[in-house]
């Protein structure tokens, strides 16, 4: 997993509440058996017109936003289906960080597995960030838990365990296998009913 410490990048605001994972990556793209290549289908139904050409009114298609790495959004981002393809698609398009009002629990966990940092900031902060110019770089400092733009600094909270995971880019399974003996012991005490 990619480690994240201090990240500088430009933004894309998509301020609707309750953006669900069906919008982030529609089901027809879940048939692949790989983890890569989903970026071109990110927000597919909003991003492409019926004839398959890019929708010029959708912000992800704006030429001046193509280098953005930080998505600003509303409440309850990533609700609905558990599909991790949503996190893969955001990552594959180029996003490293999401700043929303809240997240669905499952989507949040999927972010922690993919080095996609889900930050929570209040509405006023997000509305300010959403108005920044397309080329305005902002700084996300994970160790200091702050987001800085030229005229403001916003502090955010994050669970220490997830923070550490993002900073170190730890593989969960290796970490868990250090508990192998405890898992073995636990299994000895599972009740059986036969």
């Amino acid at each position: 997993m990619d480690a994240i410490t201090i990240h500088q990048g430009t933004t894309i605001p998509l301020m609707n509440n309750n953006i669900d994972t069906d919008q982030i990556i529609p089901k027809q793209f879940l048939k692949n058996i790989l983890k890569i290549g989903y970026g071109k289908h990110l927000f597919h139904d909003w991003r492409y017109l019926d004839d398959g050409t890019p929708n010029p009114d959708f912000i992800l298609n704006a030429p001046e936003r193509q280098q953005a790495t930080i998505l600003i959004s509303g409440d309850n981002f990533g609700c609905g289906s558990s599909r991790e393809h949503a996190a893969w698609a955001l990552k594959d398009w180029g996003f490293k960080i999401i700043i929303a009002g809240s997240y669905s629990d499952i989507f949040f966990m999927n972010c922690t597995k993919n080095g996609l940092l889900p930050i929570i900031l209040p509405q006023a902060a997000r509305q300010h960030l959403a108005k920044l110019a397309p080329d305005q770089v902002i700084t996300v400092d994970l160790p200091q838990q702050k987001v800085s733009c030229p005229d403001q600094t916003y502090f955010f909270k994050i669970d220490a365990t997830w923070k550490n995971k993002f900073i170190q880019g730890i593989d969960d399974i290796d970490l868990t296998l250090q508990h192998a003996q405890e898992i073995n012991d636990f299994e000895q005490n599972i009740p059986t009913f036969n």
Binding site: K27, H85, I173, P191
Partner: protein
């Protein structure tokens, strides 16, 4: 200070980690399907890892399965995904209810039906509707593919213990009002994220009127209110349901003795309580593009108060203040992990018996599993549906998420017994209206919703 059902279940499963931080939790049952597992198995192969407990893992295919001519998968990418699951199960020694197998069906229908799902368990699956299994008194939740890989390799998962919410359901449901209406009303009144960060337990005397199938419908949609876990205390109805099922315990007496320890000591033990009187509840229908955008069938559609509601009206091509019964219905879908069980199919058949669907309506009935299909046919329900003008299909997720060929056409309003009315969920630009099986069946007859409580008028 006592403990909740959830606290007791959680405690029994913590392997490591201090309270207040993510803890390592043991998984008793891991259900696997074709869509969210291929990358997980690939990860195991790359790292030379095995499946730790194939005996606690069970797989089936459901999302991609055609409901017509099931062995003839036209979509090559779908076919590849299904074949990949077959190969992975063989390679890693995992039980598979394969295409056409008598045990095959939607993963959340077959787990309970086979007696794999039991009280006292932690159940996970790479699917958000895993909350369904909580109806048995278990911690059950959906996980992502990285977590699927982690559970395959270690039979454990890291989780931060959520807060607990008790939802007190009391009162007698009116005839015609269903379990689906309870959960839809709860979400409509409390929003699509009221349960985020919580494990939700439903309790109260209303549960005594509900079968396991009804209870599963409620827990299934906990996730639509943001709660990835919905659960209920195991009781005699639970035990009676499980007795004699294929993978249920041999020694039920011993199992029941163990299961009976799982209940909430006192209402004050929840972090939050919602009180819900079901006695005045009317059937609900959704009008918008998330499950909270729903109204009683007797009601009118809401005013536009923000951009999210405006956007939903644009997508649905509806307008504020029109009546819920005025929404034109050209398609119906009965099925899914929410309402694809035998009890649901029976409810729909009761309404459609001796009736014809409206000439402009297309109706798909998709049983939740092959066992449901066979049982329904034994009761002659398939004939009722066919005589009414409906299509009686093979089991699968089908038009609930429209990943297989079953898609609702653009612009069409579909009354659906499913769980999500998101934009494009049932097909690009399709317009979904969630409701109970009886409500959806009645909408097929009339071409619009009616208040099923007045079904004598039909």
């Amino acid at each position: 200070m006592g403990k909740t059902l959830f606290d007791k279940l959680w405690e029994k499963h913590v392997i490591s980690g201090p309270a207040g931080q993510p803890q390592l939790i043991y998984v008793d049952l891991h259900l696997v399907h074709e869509v969210t597992s291929p990358q997980a198995f690939e990860g195991l192969r790359i790292n030379h890892r095995q499946v730790r407990r194939p005996d606690k893992t069970f797989a089936t295919m459901d999302h991609n399965v055609p409901t017509k001519d099931i062995f003839n998968i036209q979509d090559q990418i779908s076919r590849k995904q299904i074949e990949t699951l077959q190969q992975n199960c063989q390679e890693f020694g995992i039980r598979l209810a394969d295409m056409g197998n008598a045990d095959q069906g939607i993963v959340h229908v077959i787990g309970p039906q086979l007696g794999l799902t039991q009280p006292g368990q932690v159940v996970v699956c790479g699917d958000s509707h895993t909350a369904t299994h909580g109806a048995f008194g278990s911690i059950a939740f959906g996980i992502g593919t990285s977590e699927v890989e982690h559970v395959l390799a270690t039979q454990t998962i890291w989780q931060l213990k959520p807060k607990t919410m008790g939802i007190h359901l009391h009162g007698q449901l009116q005839p015609g009002v269903a379990a689906k209406d309870i959960i839809m009303a709860l979400i409509a009144q409390n929003g699509v994220d009221f349960g985020t960060g919580y494990a939700v337990e439903f309790f109260g005397d209303t549960l005594q009127q509900l079968s396991m199938e009804n209870r599963m419908t409620i827990c299934n949609m906990a996730i639509e209110g943001g709660a990835k876990m919905g659960m209920m205390r195991p009781d005699q109805i639970t035990f009676d349901y499980l007795r004699g099922r294929k993978y249920a315990p041999q020694n039920m007496a011993k199992a029941i003795e163990y299961w009976q320890q799982f209940y909430t000591d006192d209402v004050s033990d929840y972090d939050r309580v919602i009180d819900f009187d079901v006695s005045q509840l009317a059937p609900y229908v959704s009008w918008g593009t998330n499950p909270a955008m729903a109204v009683p069938v007797t009601g009118k559609l809401p005013e536009i108060t923000d951009m999210n509601i405006q956007r939903a009206y644009n997508y649905m091509d509806l307008s504020p203040a029109s009546k819920a019964t005025e929404i034109p219905i050209q398609w119906i879908f009965i099925g899914s992990c929410t309402n694809g069980r035998l009890a649901d199919i029976k409810e729909a058949a009761k309404v459609l018996k001796g009736k014809k669907i409206a000439p402009n309506v297309t109706a798909w009935i998709v049983p939740g599993s092959r066992a449901v299909k066979n049982a329904a046919e034994k009761l002659g329900l398939d004939k009722i549906f066919k005589d009414a003008g409906c299509e009686w299909r093979d089991p699968g997720c089908s038009a609930c998420l429209a990943m297989n060929p079953d898609k609702v056409p653009a612009g069409i309003h579909c009354a659906s017994t499913t769980n999500r009315n998101f934009e494009g969920r049932q097909g690009k630009d399709a317009r979904t209206h969630l409701a109970s099986p009886a409500m959806v069946a009645a909408a097929a007859i009339y071409g619009h919703f009616i208040d099923i409580r007045q079904k004598e008028a039909i």
